[in-house]
């Protein structure tokens, strides 16, 4: 079982290439918003979703994607999928 910190670290590694606000990335918390805070282009959100699927060997459905706007929601979705 992965700890919360390990999960955040893995997610940070995935989103790093798409981040456009480095200061917000350095200050990243669970409440950080991918688009509003990190200024990630919406065209890249799907790349992040595919990278998450590959990293954790999970499949994300449309309903999962719909909520995937913050670090917290990404963590909840990944954790839920890993339990299944």
């Amino acid at each position: 079982m992965m700890t919360k910190d390990e999960l955040i670290d893995k997610l940070k590694g995935i989103i790093a290439p798409y981040v456009q606000d480095e200061a917000a990335f350095k200050a990243l918390t669970e409440d950080t918003d991918f688009v509003k805070d990190l200024k990630i282009n919406s065209a890249n959100l799907v790349d992040i979703i595919l990278d998450i699927e590959d990293e954790f060997d999970i499949i994300l459905e449309n309903d999962d994607m719909e909520q995937m706007l913050t670090v917290k929601s990404a963590m909840a979705i990944v954790t839920g999928k890993l339990k299944d």
Binding site: Q20, N41, A43, V46, D47, L50, M65
Partner: protein, 188 residues
């Protein structure tokens, strides 16, 4: 009201657009058939994507909320005018495709494209955002005869841009977009 979206094709090439799962996450079966049937699938993908994104940006101005459901915004390009359906909502789109970028604009009624594209020399997000905003404000000031010092642009919690003149909200719909080396603004 207006929503717009620009895609820098050079940036778009860096994405995972060739992965079949990429198509499946963003596009309906019919849209995927349309993409595969065209000679230039790359351009078709980003054409449809920019239509969906422009329509989403228009939709959230009317019904404030935030979500990521590109597949639920369904493109219809088989006849003119092009449309994007989202549930019972229908938005009309126009698109400009060049060798460097694709720019789409969505409206509630059919209309000619009003978006103005500007090349951006620096790709830093902050610079692009400021530059596109500045150009939009200058244009609004010119059209309506406002002094540019009294004119401000604020973005709501949900990411919707709103114009103010001397702190009073203005009833002018605007949309801003930037990606890679290009920005664009629209005024309705």
């Amino acid at each position: 009201m207006v929503g717009n979206d620009i895609v820098d094709l050079q940036e778009a090439r860096q994405s995972r657009w060739e992965d079949p799962r990429f198509l499946d996450k963003l596009f309906t079966v019919e849209e995927q058939q349309y993409i595969k049937a065209t000679r230039d699938s790359f351009t078709a993908i980003w054409h449809l994507w920019s239509m969906k994104e422009a329509a989403y940006k228009l939709h959230v101005q009317q019904y404030p909320c935030r979500f990521y459901a590109p597949k639920a915004f369904v493109c219809h390009c088989e006849s003119s005018p092009h449309r994007v359906h989202y549930g019972a909502f229908v938005y009309y789109t126009t698109t400009k495709i060049t060798a460097h970028y694709i720019l789409s604009e969505a409206r509630c009624q059919t209309a000619k494209m009003s978006s103005v594209c500007l090349p951006l020399v620096r790709t830093a997000h902050e610079f692009q955002s400021q530059k596109t905003r500045r150009q939009l404000l200058d244009e609004v000031a010119k059209i309506y005869g406002f002094t540019s010092t009294g004119l401000t642009l604020k973005t709501t919690e949900l990411g919707v841009p709103k114009l103010y003149y001397n702190a009073k909200p203005l009833d002018i719909g605007v949309s801003l977009t930037h990606h890679g080396r290009y920005g664009a603004y629209a005024i309705s």
